[in-house]
Symmetry: C2
Subunit: 291 residues, 2 copies
Amino acid sequence: MVDWLALPPLTALRALAALSETGSTVAAGARLNVSHAAVSQQVKLLEERLGLSLVDRSGRQLALSAEGRQIADAVIEGLSGVETVIARLTGQEAARPLTVSCTPAFAGAFLLPRLADFQKTHPGQSLMIDPTATLKEVGPGGVEVALRYGGGDWPGLEAELLILTPVAIVAAPGLVPGDGPVNPADLSGYPWLQELGTSEASDFLSWHGARLDLSQGVTSLPGNMVLDAARDGRGIAVIARAFAEADIAAGRLRLLYEDRRKKGYYLVTRPGHLRPVARDFIRWVRAQARG
Amino acid sequence: MVDWLALPPLTALRALAALSETGSTVAAGARLNVSHAAVSQQVKLLEERLGLSLVDRSGRQLALSAEGRQIADAVIEGLSGVETVIARLTGQEAARPLTVSCTPAFAGAFLLPRLADFQKTHPGQSLMIDPTATLKEVGPGGVEVALRYGGGDWPGLEAELLILTPVAIVAAPGLVPGDGPVNPADLSGYPWLQELGTSEASDFLSWHGARLDLSQGVTSLPGNMVLDAARDGRGIAVIARAFAEADIAAGRLRLLYEDRRKKGYYLVTRPGHLRPVARDFIRWVRAQARG
DNA sequence: CTACCATGTAAGCCAGACTTACATATTCAC
DNA sequence: GTGAATATGTAAGTCTGGCTTACATGGTAG
């Protein structure tokens, strides 16, 4: 147990150590990036504090006394250990790939198609994508950035809105003819489509399930196959509107209903420091979302 | 080789270490005698500096991350080593007897008769007397204080005049009758007396030797026997005047000649810090010399 | 003798370290 | 549920330890 209050000023110990390494106040000052006078005064203060003679001043050049040397050696050894640990940790951290957690929908629709650009604009930075339907634990040493769909209110985490996009119900015009919004409760007798392994649609369905006619079943399909099946008129799709936007605009899909809740894709991080690679990634994702 | 400039602020490292020991900014602050806010800010600065997340802030109470713990452990270990060395050195130094070097004449005439008083007024302090005719090396770890006879100009050392006392030539009035000063060259046919093992008289004799009649020889006697022999008329004594002062005043010895050179007994130390026991001793000797 | 270099000291400056005040969140007891 | 206690963070102001600057002294080399 170190008695912190009894320990002499660390600045003075450091000055003695640098003097020990160099044998000169001028050189020690250069090492510490201070003037020789600062070193001289710190060492003198240390002598007074400890009641020891740490320096032999009988010659023109200073020499450390036996006591001075012992203390300086201990300081150098101690702080050398600290330096080593820090170098190891910051080195590890710098080299470790960034782990990004996101839904498979987002990975497939947004991230993977753009990954080559990130790698081109950020050479040497590596990325690991952890595709999960649920929010993974976010924090140092694991998932550092999550791209999640939701309302942005994850407790203990910081969330920055990336793309505001509600869940939408869409269908091919041929399947559900007509114009304008439809009350979801009126959509009966249709098969439903959702994306396999994501939470966006299933959250919506579990929220609205009591009010929908799901008697014809809900089919879960992976990735873009939901959109394909919807366009082909094989069912009503529940999907994040952003992903259906192009088809809606082109008239291939009709927007039947849009969820009122403000939901979207967020950049989610844990409060605390982010590594440079994480910060780079966040900046890049922002730019990509802005398009 | 520690890269001093790359090392983070030692104050911040210390704050992290104290936080690691306590798990609370408030308790760490108490340990360091600073406010909790100081600890909080230092740790945060350290995180920013290193680009690492050192603390897990997800709960009410702080917990160190794996990295934070590693660094804190290294700091504690390193400074604990420094603390141990310092404790050992200051402990040793405090307990080590003070070594005082002086001429046998001074030891016999001044120091030893008074030693009981020093020991009475400074319980627990121990003294070692190193009686030598010549000036011993003065410095930390060895002779810390010397009581020397001379002109006070020892290079590289600090000298404080204690007793100004020239060398004197004295003799019993019966041996050398008369009154007033005598030219030393006129003292021929007499045997001479000096103190054995001291430098005061022998320095004088070697300085004046060419001008004195030493044909009847120079007898070296220990300690007070010089004064005894002089009083008995067995020879002319060369001695520091201070030691013959009482006999001169009482008329037992006649002052024949007094050296012009300003010489005396000096407290001699090496520049640098003195241990408390050395400082106590010096203070005491001063008081004793003042009478 | 001059120039250069090393160290020490004193005095003034100033930025890092700290305090203080306030805010927010959590926990506990009633 | 409410209020009190406790923990941490943040911002802004304070202050003092650490530093710079200027000067002095001493040693060395040419």
